[in-house]
Symmetry: C2
Subunit: 63 residues, 2 copies
């Protein structure tokens, strides 16, 4: 499966915020994450990196 885990940067820490993410939409200073379970989270953040090899999405908060 191709789903990824999403993490939010907090200083040098990475806080896990969603598992099994399969959709990411970035607009107007927010990132919307959706999981295969139908879960949805909207964060005031932007994409920092996404690795399909390690299945990790890293988001950076927008101050």
């Amino acid at each position: 499966m191709c789903e990824a885990k999403a993490y939010l940067l907090k200083g040098s820490e990475e806080e896990e915020i969603m598992e099994e993410v399969n959709e990411i939409v970035e607009e107007n200073g927010t990132v919307t994450l959706r999981s295969i379970f139908g879960e949805e989270k909207v964060l005031k953040a932007k994409l920092k990196s996404f690795s399909l090899v390690s299945h990790r999405v890293i988001l950076e908060p927008i101050p």
Copy 2:
């Protein structure tokens, strides 16, 4: 496999810019795409959406 195709929005058109993308890094108004073939492209753009279901990365140019 989890790789995705990357498209750049040109008006209402989507121009395919890279196949088999496995890494995306967004910083300072650029998006860097890397493929499983070691290809790398840096674009003046930002992420619009990413679907792991349809394996499509949509980028929006920054004017």
